[in-house]
């Protein structure tokens, strides 16, 4: 029996629509196990680059009360060789696994993506949108042509679904359209937004990296808007991400056009958020009298 909450997105068959967002844990087998214990329907790894990356020294996060989080972890990750181990533990736990892939050139992305495919990962999420790791993100993702190149290179070579994770940028609809043309099966929208915090008593930027990515409640209305606009123009398969902290914030992304959602920052406050979201979504399905959550995808465009 297929449950009311099960969804298909970008070739993945998920028990329910709540996945974790890349970069919240997800870099070691132990992390994968912990994420699985949170109840996510699929596990997304930390962005993996070909070579290990140390990341930035602390401070790497600043919490802004009520508003969200600023982070500059700096794509710290153990490098591509970890991928098979991550896949293995996720398979053992019966969870689909999406390998988030980072790089500074199309061939670097392909390098990790190929290992992921070989290792038996269920999908690849190309991180085209990190706003604070120079050369590894939003510079690519805000340019339709560079994004096209990366996605094309990977989607042409690997058979598992390729998902493109995009960030806030001026030409988001155009970028989305190009990466879909290049072969992306789905889009994750959005990544963090470039921002900074200064400590006024010392006048110093708090993050060691100066700039970081803003996530959490602050970016939620922006994420909903991006999902809504991209869905309206292109009707692609979208995974919504940004400021999901409860069932309402998750539902907004789904109604705007997302087939699934990812949760990042909220895990800092609420480790049981998955169940909170699922209970709310189940009530919403009843409220609208529809058969399944899939009927509510993009519903705001139809009322």
């Amino acid at each position: 029996m297929v449950s009311k909450l099960s969804v298909r997105v970008a070739g993945l068959h998920l028990e329910h629509p709540v996945m974790n967002a890349s970069g919240i844990l997800g870099a070691t087998p132990e992390h994968i196990e912990r994420l699985a214990s949170y109840g996510f329907s699929a596990i997304v790894t930390k962005t993996i680059t070909p070579q290990p990356r140390e990341g930035n020294p602390p401070p790497i996060i600043v919490e802004i009360p009520n508003i969200g989080l600023l982070n500059a972890v700096g794509l710290a990750n153990p490098g591509k060789n970890i991928v098979p181990k991550l896949v293995e533990v996720s398979k053992r736990l019966g969870k689909p696994i999406v390998i988030s892939v980072g790089g500074s050139t199309p061939s670097e992305f392909l390098e990790v993506a190929s290992i992921a495919e070989e290792a038996g990962a269920d999908a690849i999420e190309l991180n085209l949108s990190c706003p604070h790791a120079k050369g590894y993100g939003i510079e690519i993702g805000s340019d339709p042509y560079q994004s096209y190149e990366v996605v094309k290179t990977v989607a042409n070579s690997v058979k598992i679904p390729t998902i493109a994770k995009l960030g806030l940028c001026d030409r988001i609809v155009e970028v989305a359209s190009k990466v879909l043309e290049a072969g992306a099966k789905g889009l994750t929208l959005i990544n963090t937004v470039r921002a900074m915090v200064i400590d006024v008593m010392t006048a110093r930027p708090v993050l060691s990296n100066v700039f970081g990515g803003l996530s959490g409640p602050a970016i939620h209305p922006i994420a909903v808007r991006v999902v809504y606009e991209v869905y309206r123009e292109l009707r692609p398969e979208i995974i919504g991400c940004g400021g999901v902290v409860d069932w309402v914030t998750a539902a907004e992304l789904i109604l705007a056009g997302a087939r699934a959602v990812q949760v990042g920052t909220a895990l800092m406050w609420k480790e049981n958020i998955v169940y909170d979201v699922l209970i709310g979504l189940r009530r919403l399905i009843e409220h609208f009298g529809v058969r399944s959550i899939e009927d509510l995808v993009g519903y705001s465009h139809r009322v």
Partner: protein, 245 residues
């Protein structure tokens, strides 16, 4: 300065902590423009004075040791779970190795408040790393025993050897060990034979302190030191401690 390379700092918080910290909880101390480091809470007074005790290891602690009175630091915390003191504890042994002494004042105070007798066993490499414990303890342990690896003060040997030679582990309701990982491993392995599962207050690399970056993970377990620890049972961290060589 308390001893060779060991410092005590009293920090006045702009905003007091929301709740009184539990023993073994820690803070992230930001030395502006340099770095942010995890530091145990040695003592805290309700009006917002926080005491830390630290040993100079690299650039961060060096800088921390050299900044003057009146400097502004950033403090995040209290972080971690802290040790929950059990009502059935009547007598507790605390084994501290080196700078592992840092969190013990808060721990001894909390145990004392709960009417528990505290026996402190402190081991250091050599005499110059020792200092007068009165300088850091608000509530005094009921018994203090000291060792140095080279015998330059007190018992010659490790703190575990000291403990085994002068005390009977079975006379304690709990054993809490704090110190470098090799020491903790030795304690855990020794006690395992006696079918005792002590508590250990550990260190791993803490970056975010909030359970999201994953740098502090305990190998072979789903635990994160920054939110589940830093105090664990030996049984929870044995794999981690053994895998460190």
């Amino acid at each position: 300065m308390l001893a060779n390379g060991i410092y005590l700092a009293k920090l006045r918080l702009v905003e007091p902590f929301e709740s009184y910290p539990s023993p073994a909880q820690f803070v992230m101390v930001w030395v502006p423009g340099v770095k942010e480091m995890p530091m145990s809470i040695s003592h805290y007074s309700c009006d917002g004075e926080l005491t830390i005790v630290f040993r100079v290891r690299g650039v961060g602690t060096q800088k921390l040791a050299s900044i003057g009175i009146g400097s502004v630091l950033g403090i995040r915390g209290p972080l971690g779970k802290g040790i929950a003191i059990r009502p059935e504890w009547k007598r507790v042994a605390i084994l501290a190795g080196g700078i592992g002494i840092a969190p013990t004042p808060l721990l001894v105070s909390a145990l004392t408040v709960h009417g528990c007798e505290t026996h402190l066993f402190w081991g250091a490499k050599t005499r110059s790393e020792l200092f007068d414990l009165d300088k850091i303890f608000v509530d005094k342990p009921d018994r203090i025993e000291i060792s140095t690896d080279d015998g330059s003060y007190g018992f010659r040997g490790t703190v575990l050897e000291l403990f085994k030679s002068v005390a009977n582990v079975h006379s304690y309701d709990a054993v809490i060990a704090i110190g470098p990982n090799p020491m903790l491993r030795a304690v855990c392995e020794d006690m395992e034979l006696k079918r005792i599962d002590p508590m250990v207050v550990m260190e791993t690399i803490v970056k975010c302190g909030r359970g999201i970056c994953g740098s502090c993970y305990i190998r072979g377990s789903t635990k994160l030191l920054c939110i589940d620890g830093p105090a664990f049972r030996c049984s929870e961290v044995m794999h981690h401690l053994r895998s460190l060589d």
